[in-house]
């Protein structure tokens, strides 16, 4: 991705803390020393398990949740102390969508979208045509007069997206926007958000606990755990080479192959898992292996995942042969693939 060095990041969070006072009077650290930068135009993901502090951090960006300490910079301007009209003006530039859509249930689709336009004092006579245009963008032109209760979850989220885009925001914050939707509807929303990001050049910050959404949508990912940002990387690197244990467990939830429990491997063999990042195919390596070392290799299982259109392969193989040859072969694999995981040596694998 191109980044202009002179441009300020669209969002910069500096050392954000958010404390909540519990009923018993103790304070709960929902976000702790969180710093991050989001570059204009990217789709930036914040992932982590439930309760990690993702929503709280996302709500700090538009000050729905003022931070206990730390600074929030938007386009290089410190907005942490903005209140009243300044804060409202800022929020007009930031769209937001939610897990449960949060549409006004007593208003039609048209009225829902008009609300955002009215918030920006959009010329009254042009509101209707703008609403029509927005509904076309999200593929819901026929739902102008429907009430939210008459729409499916995916349609409601599309209305929410149309509404959030009404005032041409530079930034769209999505809090678990696909978490209440089924897989197929999620795909549709992901495609739509990708389109919006490309066509309208809207920067997207997307919070989720769903790693398969992360894999398909994000350019860059921050991983949160217990209020802290524990790892930040571009999506492909994060998936192919996670460093933090939390990241590893999140990544393995979508990027792994099961090892059959009943698998038995013979005495003179190693069971290993290969991770293979990048464009090169692994076929040459596999065939080189059998050529250069006196080992037999069998592929037990394998798959290729595409992340940001780049392949990431995983293979489960067993290597059979003399111990010394086997170790040489494994060393060769270590040198030529992204990661080699030794699962088991010899004997019985499983329960």
């Amino acid at each position: 991705m191109e980044t202009k060095i002179l441009d300020n990041p669209i969002i910069e969070l500096k050392d954000i803390d958010v404390y909540f006072k519990s009923a018993e009077g103790n304070s709960l650290k929902a976000v702790s020393h969180a710093s991050l930068k989001v570059t204009k135009g990217e789709i930036f993901g914040i992932v982590g398990s439930s309760g990690a502090g993702k929503s709280t951090l996302a709500r700090v960006i538009n000050l729905l949740q003022p931070p206990t300490s730390g600074r929030v910079l938007i386009d290089g301007f410190d907005i942490t102390d903005n209140r009243g009209n300044d804060l409202r003006a800022l929020r007009l530039r930031i769209g937001m969508i939610f897990q449960h859509f949060n549409l006004i249930s007593g208003s039609t689709v048209e009225e829902n979208i008009s609300f955002n336009l009215k918030a920006a004092s959009y010329p009254k006579s042009e509101i209707h045509s703008r609403v029509v245009e927005l509904l076309k963008l999200v593929g819901l032109s026929d739902k102008l007069k429907s009430y939210p209760s008459q729409l499916s979850g995916g349609q409601k989220q599309r209305v929410a997206i149309a509404r959030a885009l009404a005032n041409n925001p530079e930034l769209l914050i999505c809090d678990e926007a696909t978490s209440a939707l089924d897989t197929k509807t999620t795909e549709g929303i992901i495609t739509l958000l990708n389109d919006i990001n490309k066509k309208l050049k809207v920067t997207i910050v997307f919070i989720t606990h769903q790693m398969d959404v992360a894999k398909k949508l994000f350019n860059k990912i921050a991983v949160m755990d217990s209020g802290k940002i524990v790892e930040v990387n571009d999506t492909y690197s994060l998936f192919s080479n996670p460093s933090n244990p939390i990241t590893k467990s999140l990544v393995s939830s979508v990027l792994d192959i099961e090892i059959p429990e009943e698998l038995v491997i013979s005495k003179d063999s190693h069971l290993i898992k290969l991770f293979y990042a990048g464009e090169g195919a692994y076929n040459p390596i596999i065939s080189n292996l059998s050529k250069n070392f006196s080992v037999d290799l069998s592929i037990l299982s394998g798959k290729i995942e595409y992340i940001n259109k780049k392949p990431l392969g995983i293979l489960l193989v067993s290597i059979f042969g003399e111990e010394s040859e086997r170790l040489k072969a494994i060393q060769y694999l270590k040198d030529n693939t992204t990661k080699v995981e030794l699962i088991k040596k010899g004997e019985h694998y499983g329960k």
Binding site: L64, R88, R91, N102, I104, G106, S107, F115, A160
Partner: protein, 220 residues
């Protein structure tokens, strides 16, 4: 039903009904205006994302609590000087409307506060996130989302006012309740008692049915 009963009803029922309607309508209108405003203030001032203000909230809440904690029959008496000041008299349905209004404002304010508080907090959050003004949120979100609950609140306030107006009648307000007490109770005219009770039940039923219908039409 004896001749006496019919005579009494012919002579007093219309007047009594008119007085009841007068008391109830006046105090309902006052409650709709001031109770709604007070309820809105209570809600806005206690809600973090809107205009949370502890001072305003505790003043409004104290006002409401004080009125609500005084038994109505005592409120009637306590407010006599004020009633005299406002209406120039302490007798009749117009005078009775003063304590009724006070009571109804406080009662209605709590119902309205509850109607707003029951709105999905996510909807409030997403509205605030748009950068909209509080005024626009009040008109386009709060009053839209709370509409069914507000209609139900109005029905409840109306029905309660029918009850309170009977009490107000005893201390000089007149109305159906007064008729029932004066003739049905003090003069042992059970027929009058029965007819007024049936009439009150009927009014309350009709109000409830209409209120429910309107509330339902606002649910989407």
């Amino acid at each position: 039903m004896g001749n006496n009963t019919i005579e009494i009803l012919q002579q007093y029922l219309w007047k009594a009904s008119y007085e009841t309607i007068e008391m109830v309508i006046i105090s309902l209108l006052v409650a709709l205006i001031f109770g709604t405003i007070l309820g809105l203030i209570l809600y806005l001032s206690e809600t973090e994302l809107l205009v949370k203000n502890k001072v305003v909230n505790s003043i409004a809440a104290t006002l409401v609590n004080v009125i609500r904690s005084i038994p109505f029959i005592i409120l009637l008496v306590v407010l006599i000087p004020l009633t005299k000041l406002i209406t120039g008299t302490t007798i009749g349905p117009i005078a009775a409307s003063v304590p009724l209004s006070f009571c109804a404002i406080a009662f209605h304010a709590r119902l309205i506060e509850g109607a707003f508080a029951d709105i999905d907090s996510g909807v409030i959050e997403s509205s605030v996130a748009t950068g909209s003004s509080i005024k626009l949120i009040i008109t386009n979100v709060l009053f839209v989302e709370a509409r069914p609950a507000i209609v139900r609140s109005i029905t409840i306030t109306f029905v309660s006012l029918i009850g309170y107006s009977a009490m107000a009648g005893i201390v000089g307000g007149g109305g159906i309740g007064d008729l029932a007490i004066q003739f049905g109770y003090y003069r042992y005219e059970s027929g009058v008692m029965l007819v007024t009770v049936i009439l009150l039940v009927f009014i309350v039923q009709i109000a409830q049915i209409i209120g429910d219908k309107i509330a339902e039409s606002f649910v989407h």
